[in-house]
């Protein structure tokens, strides 16, 4: 499959990473699958905290699901925060009941999705976080379906407007 629309952002601080997440979270309407990749400390949970805030949850509510595997947050639009960190093979995601969340009416966010990429639905939004230096991260978003292309377009506009309004 040809790579569709992408967006690259440099985030200078964890706070900025969280804000980018919030802008993204505000645009979600349900049924989206967001797959996160990036090594330890690259800001995955920070980004998810932002997404959750954008969806109307409180920041403190969202904690790492590495050990619990799935955290469910109930709201007007439910958030299913899933973590593949402790998962090994292709069948593991199904052993934790992963597919039931994919078909649910809510937003699914998967941390460490690159550990079991085969389990991630083909039409999803992939976000890769990369360590640059101490607090600086590169965030690359790749739309794997039309609906995510629209989200990326809109996010670009929002980020641009924010930056230009900050300057003035």
């Amino acid at each position: 499959m040809a790579t569709k629309k992408t967006l690259e952002i440099i985030s200078p601080t964890p706070e900025q990473t969280e804000k980018i997440g919030t802008l993204l979270g505000e645009m979600l309407t349900g049924g989206e699958v967001i797959a996160l990749a990036g090594e330890l400390g690259s800001g995955k949970t920070t980004l998810v905290k932002g997404i959750a805030q954008g969806m109307g949850f409180k920041e403190q509510e969202v904690v790492s699901p590495s050990f619990t595997l799935i955290n469910e947050y109930d709201g007007p639009l439910p958030l299913f925060h899933i973590d593949f960190y402790r998962l090994e093979g292709e069948k593991d995601p199904f052993e934790i009941g992963f597919e039931e969340y994919i078909s649910a009416e809510g937003v699914v966010v998967i941390e460490w999705a690159d550990r079991v990429p085969q389990a991630v639905p083909k039409d999803s939004l992939w976000i890769t976080l990369r360590y640059l230096e101490a607090e600086r991260r590169e965030i690359v978003m790749r739309a794997q379906a039309d609906r995510y292309e629209k989200i990326i377009e809109e996010l670009k506009k929002k980020l641009y407007n924010r930056n230009s309004s900050q300057k003035t």
Binding site: L40, T45, V63, N71, D92, G97
Partner: protein, 350 residues
């Protein structure tokens, strides 16, 4: 259903004669079953990861919290009855973890508990996993109320004011990673293997805890919330910029452990001071850490605060602690119907 309720009431009249509870715990990776007498005495306490369970009862090795509980649940329950030399007819109530945890895993334990409750006509009691951790200490000693309870494990890190067997007040929890999770992730990042808590503790003995000053996240003065994501990232940053050798790794392990232990010790002491209590109980997998035990005992002594720790096998996830909680809930008349469901999130005391 009427028939069932009648049995229920009849039973309650002579409930305190022996009161043996079959407790089941399937909230995380291990399948556990235990028989507890009068909320205190362990008649048996089995977890699926034990070698003997596989050998004697034909259980399977757990890979991770999963539907594997289904293969383990009956062998583990059967094993717990055999070890206690009891039959299902001698059980007075069934206690089971209702949450928080992975719903698919919890349901395996809950379904087994319901089946036993229904066929034997005995009460069903749903238990909060965290309440089990907070009460695990009573399997070994009586701690007078009130006390500050801290649960520190791979999945949880939280502080409670415990005023009675069923009276808990939430004081603060983690904002990101749990303490045990930080140990595990740092161990994996340093290439030290599993389980993270144990390998870091062992390596830390060869390192200097003051070698590197990793950040202590106190959040705000007197805050009883935790954050362990920052110290994890600080370790990653340090390794990237220093490429340490073996001695360096030992120093990192020791300094990292010290940073986590510092925060845990200080916060549990702050909690005790703020609420004017002189006893603290620490449970959960991280409570096995000997540096934490040593530091808290030491620091507490000077302030007149006594620290209690359950034995390591009762600190980690187990069914015996669920049996203690179920006993006290039941004594207060709390029981559940056969329509009880699993809760993925279930805040305790707030």
């Amino acid at each position: 259903m009427v028939w069932y309720d009648n049995i229920f009431e009849e039973f309650e009249c002579n409930r305190d004669k022996r009161m043996i509870i079959l407790a089941i715990e399937t909230s995380c990776d291990d399948t556990g079953a235990a028989l507890i007498e009068k909320g205190k005495k362990i008649l048996s306490n089995l977890v699926s990861s034990q070698d003997e369970v596989h050998r004697k009862y034909g259980g399977v090795v757990p890979e991770l919290a999963s539907r594997r509980h289904l293969e383990n649940i009956l062998p583990v329950i059967r094993g717990s009855l055999e070890e206690a030399h009891k039959s299902l007819d001698e059980i007075d109530a069934v206690g089971v973890t209702k949450g928080p945890g992975l719903v698919g895993s919890l349901l395996v334990g809950i379904s087994a508990a319901k089946a036993i409750s229904y066929t034997k006509g005995i009460p069903l009691v749903g238990v909060n996993h965290l309440m089990g951790h907070l009460l695990a200490v009573f399997l070994e000693e009586d701690v007078p109320f009130p006390f500050i309870g801290m649960v520190a494990s791979g999945g949880h890190t939280a502080l409670y004011l415990v005023e009675g067997f069923t009276a808990f007040r939430f004081l603060g929890g983690t904002r990101d990673d749990a303490a045990g999770e930080a140990f595990d992730k740092v161990a994996k990042y340093l290439g030290l293997g599993y389980p993270g808590g144990r390998v870091i503790e062992d390596l830390a003995r060869h390192g200097n805890p003051c070698a590197i000053s990793f950040p202590r996240a106190y959040i705000a003065k007197d805050s009883l919330e935790f954050s362990f994501s920052g110290v994890k990232t600080a370790v990653v940053n340090y390794v990237r910029s220093h490429s340490p050798g073996y001695d360096g790794i030992a120093d990192i392990a020791a300094s990292f452990q010290e940073a986590v232990v510092d925060v845990l010790v200080n916060k549990v002491i702050w909690a005790a001071q703020r609420h004017g209590v002189s006893r603290v109980v620490v449970s959960g997998g991280v409570a096995s850490n000997s540096r934490l035990r040593e530091r808290l005992e030491q620091q507490g002594k000077g302030l007149g605060i006594k620290a209690y720790f359950p034995s390591p096998h009762l600190c980690k996830d187990n069914a015996a602690m669920i049996g203690v909680a179920a006993y006290h809930l039941f004594k207060e008349g709390k029981k559940d119907g056969l329509d009880m469901g699993a809760l993925s999130r279930w805040p305790l005391g707030r």
